[in-house]
Point group: C2
Amino acid sequence: MPRARGRRPAGSHTREDIACAAKRQFAELGYPRTTLRGIAREADVDTRLVTHYFGSKQNLFASVVELPFEPDALVEDLIAAGPEAVGHKLATLVLSTLSQPEARQTLTGLVRAAASEDEAAALVRRFLTDRLLTPLARLLGSDHPELRAGLIGAHMTGFLVGRYVVEFPGLNEVSDHDLADAIGPVLQHYLTGDLGGRASA
Amino acid sequence: MPRARGRRPAGSHTREDIACAAKRQFAELGYPRTTLRGIAREADVDTRLVTHYFGSKQNLFASVVELPFEPDALVEDLIAAGPEAVGHKLATLVLSTLSQPEARQTLTGLVRAAASEDEAAALVRRFLTDRLLTPLARLLGSDHPELRAGLIGAHMTGFLVGRYVVEFPGLNEVSDHDLADAIGPVLQHYLTGDLGGRASA
């Protein structure tokens, strides 16, 4: 098929230009309203070229997403709260991050993408458990750090899905402050508590 | 466009035939390997007719899915465990349901669909919080039943996503029995515990 008229041919900067346009549009419009066609228009290329380089919209998103926090710095902050307060501190940090519209959009988009794209799922896994939660549990000296990281990662992912995707009505019933009080002890249990059964052996 | 040759025209049974074929294929092949084309072939209609009646594959799935348990009966079972044991019982029931391949496929497919389709999200919400968890919290006499249902629904959804979609490595590290011991106290906290802050006022 001939290229659409007036569009540039694929060149050395094309992939980078598409990534820049995508990053800007995802941040400005949010995941649902961003389209491959709109990104192609901004990057001045044919839409097929976007698909050629990045596959689906979800893959493109996973490739260009900039996470709203830096795991290593976050682990340090959390450890500084002290081993008894780390669960509440983590709950507070999650809730305050999600209260920022841009960060919320990024994370919600990432989890939506992870539901159907392996690349996005790997990004969530790598970021949330490998870089943030497993190191945190290790630094706290807890047994089974990977299990603990998995349980917390599951709860954090589920909170995001439950509040912003499935929209369970109860999750908007109280303030973030009160939610942190409700969730904090759970994260504390998963981080440092006795997990019971043979898991604690 | 002309219909594909040899296919039946849309008739009174067409929608039902498509639903039957879809139900069978989703159950047998699982969500990812089921295609609209394959369903159309089995129902002996054109693929466009499947799209006409049901929209996307995810919507079709949400329309025909049969949930692997019945919420009202489940609430009764849980209440029968007694107010102190209900968290552990709920964790055990969730894990044993997910250990059945067909039920796991159905629920994972439903949550994947909910990530991008409002109809599937509404189904999760209606089923998990409105029919199962909110009534359970109410019957236990707990304050803020909707908040509690939302927190548990989020955790259960997150566990499914974390174990079967994002695949956090730690969640396959221990047996279901040990997982129930780890998660049970959390569900108990969310069902009957003091949620702290103004949420408990």
